[in-house]
């Protein structure tokens, strides 16, 4: 993976991810942090594209930047009197230490092992993913769909208020 395009793209995307991730931490406003989070999601999708994971990159844009971010936006909307400043708790220093420890640990592990090179016959993934999803991992697939159903029904039932008995006329 040494063609100049991939190298430039990797460093750009990695810089964007780490930069916007840091800005999520440092932003002074919750909605600014959300905007930087969206930028980090889109840059992660770019990183996935350098890994030839085209299906996952599109799924990342669709799910993370397209749906989960909108969910968070709505949550911020529906909590108007909560503090919108991106403040830190008193556990921020231990948190930073733990985070630094994890990152350093993974970094040393990555630098110290001798990894083998890239797979040479890596082609398009969507056919293979489909075959595996409905072949080897069909049980997990079905359980994941049931889980999504549970989450959907649960989220709706959680936020329903009990006294909603106004009638709405059908205008269609």
């Amino acid at each position: 993976m040494d063609s100049p395009g991939i190298v430039i793209a990797f460093y750009m995307m990695a810089g964007l991810v780490l930069g916007s991730g840091t800005l999520v931490f440092l932003a002074r406003n919750l909605l600014h942090a959300l905007a930087f989070l969206v930028i980090s999601f889109l840059s992660m999708a770019g990183l996935f594209l350098t890994l030839s994971a085209d299906f996952i990159a599109m799924a990342q844009i669709l799910i993370y930047a397209g749906s989960i971010s909108v969910l968070m936006v709505f949550a911020v909307m529906l909590t108007p009197l909560a503090s919108r400043d991106n403040g830190n708790t008193i556990y921020v220093l231990p948190g930073l230490l733990a985070a630094g420890g994890i990152a350093t640990f993974v970094g040393f592990l990555a630098l110290d092992t001798s990894w083998s090179g890239p797979a040479t016959d890596f082609t398009t993934t969507i056919d293979l993913i489909g075959n595996l999803l409905l072949g080897k991992y069909v049980l997990a697939f079905e359980i994941a769909s049931v889980l999504l159903l549970f989450a959907l029904v649960g989220a709706i039932m959680l936020v329903q208020t009990s006294s909603s008995d106004h009638e709405e006329g059908e205008g269609g």
Partner: protein, 476 residues
């Protein structure tokens, strides 16, 4: 003509003295007519020569084969590969030069449309409303878009007090990005698509879900309750109609067996059928849901002219608001291109694409879909927000999913059955149309069985009821 039979008003005089286009064309000076006829004869001769070249196969694949600009690009990359430069420079250039040229092409197509699009839409709307559109600025009003752009550019940019600086300046740019990115996988000719992704369909769906965030940022950063309300309405509409788009495209992928847009167009060309004839409900659902995604009538409740001022871009002035309006127009032809690629056969026309360049055929189809959009805007009223949401969640999504199941069954039978394609495709079309019509009728009966539409309630005058105070007491 005596004076009492002469029409009175200027407009009626104009109608009475109206000469047809043929009359006006034949009334031009003789010199111009001679030049035009010579040009026409020359054009026909050139077409005959080109036709001979096409038929004898001498034109295929040459770099001057204008039917497909991809040929020139392939020749260019071959020349770069054959040159004796360093391999890294060669690989960079073979990637970079087609990318830059293609990007220039896409931006010029979209930009060119933004120059004539507003003029075309307003003249067309005026034709529907029996009036003339812009005809003052330049001949036939052709410079109207330029005048609009200049007017918007010289306006003072007023930033509302308390507006969030960072989130205020981003949306006009962020909303333009999906409108340009969506053009990437669309094939204009067999070798001419900017980025023929293997997951093109998923790319289209993902890009259409990026516009939501820009709308929210615009509404939020304006520090205006009404902007926020308009943004929330628009966002609710956009995320509700993403699902019918995905389900319709899923039906397309099931039938054609590929998520690559060029293979979808190839499938339609090989089977000799357009997907709108096979899965008409999916095509119409895609069309309707796309008008909701791009905030166009009949789903433009967010920013229509008589609605909540201007919706989420109320507080934007000058070219920022101009960008929002431009993006609405650019999205309209993007939806036209997607509709043409998925359901109307793309750049093919049952074999005509060996004579006429594919991109011209695609441009014609885009124009037809855009004409349909303007027609709908001129004639139909718009939906109220609760009607919109009810339509999406209660009707479009269930019926689309059921018909997609039907399409899945049909496509698996189509793969296994060894019948001439005319028979099997005709059967599929018949079954789909019957199922769509039947399911629509049945479902509407089920949804609206409580509505008594035979005798609409007559309004009772407040005076009869005893006045507003009495009405309040009655209502309790």
């Amino acid at each position: 003509m005596s004076s009492d039979t002469r029409p009175a008003t200027p407009m009626s005089r104009q109608i009475a003295e109206h000469r047809s286009l043929l009359d006006r064309a034949l009334g031009l000076p003789k010199f111009i007519l001679v030049v035009l006829s010579v040009a026409l004869i020359g054009f026909v001769i050139c077409q005959i020569l080109i036709g001979y070249l096409v038929v004898s196969g001498q034109l295929d694949g040459k770099w001057y084969d204008v039917r497909d600009f991809g040929n020139a690009m392939v020749s260019l990359t071959d020349a770069i590969n054959r040159s004796q430069m360093d391999s890294r420079i060669v690989s960079t250039l073979t990637y970079l030069i087609p990318a830059l040229l293609g990007a220039t092409g896409i931006v010029s197509v979209v930009g060119g449309w933004l120059l004539i699009g507003p003029w075309a839409e307003r003249r067309l709307l005026a034709k529907f409303q029996i009036r003339q559109g812009p005809n003052r600025t330049g001949p036939f009003g052709l410079l109207q878009s330029l005048a609009d752009a200049l007017k918007l550019m010289q306006k003072e940019i007023i930033i509302p007090r308390g507006a969030d600086r960072f989130l205020y300046f981003v949306p006009p740019i962020a909303v333009f990005i999906p409108a340009i990115l969506g053009w990437a996988p669309i094939p204009w000719s067999p070798k001419m698509s900017y980025a023929d992704l293997d997951v093109g369909v998923l790319f289209v769906i993902a890009i259409s879900s990026l516009g939501v965030l820009a709308v929210f940022m615009a509404g939020w950063a304006s520090n205006n309750h009404y902007s926020l309300l308009g943004a929330m309405r628009t966002i609710a509409m956009m995320i509700s109609y993403e699902i019918p788009i995905s389900v319709s495209l899923l039906a397309v992928v099931l039938l054609t067996g590929s998520t690559k847009l060029s293979e979808i167009v190839m499938w339609q060309s090989e089977q000799g059928v357009w997907l709108i004839m096979l899965i008409p409900f999916a095509a119409l659902a895609f069309l309707f849901a796309s008008t909701a995604e791009i905030n166009r009538t009949p789903n433009d409740i967010g920013e229509a002219e008589s609605e909540i001022v201007a919706g989420f871009y109320t507080e934007y002035s000058g070219m920022k608001a101009g960008l929002f309006m431009a993006v609405e127009l650019g999205n309209a032809i993007l939806v036209g291109a997607l509709m043409s690629t998925f359901f109307l056969g793309g750049y093919t026309f049952f074999g005509l694409e060996t004579w006429i360049p594919g991109y011209l055929i695609l441009a014609t189809k885009i124009g037809l879909v855009y004409f349909l959009f303007v027609w709908i805007r001129a004639t139909l009223p718009r939906f109220r927000l609760d009607q919109l949401m009810g339509f999406a969640w209660k009707f479009l999504i269930p019926v689309s999913i059921v018909l997609m199941f039907l399409t899945a069954i049909e496509s698996s039978i189509l793969v296994r059955w060894d019948v001439p394609s005319f028979l099997s495709l005709g059967l599929i079309a018949l079954v789909n149309i019957t199922a769509a019509v039947g399911l629509t009728f049945v479902w509407m009966r089920v949804l609206f069985r409580d509505n008594d539409l035979s005798a609409p309630p007559t309004p009772i005058l407040t005076r009869k009821m005893g006045g507003l105070q009495a009405a309040k007491v009655l209502r309790g």
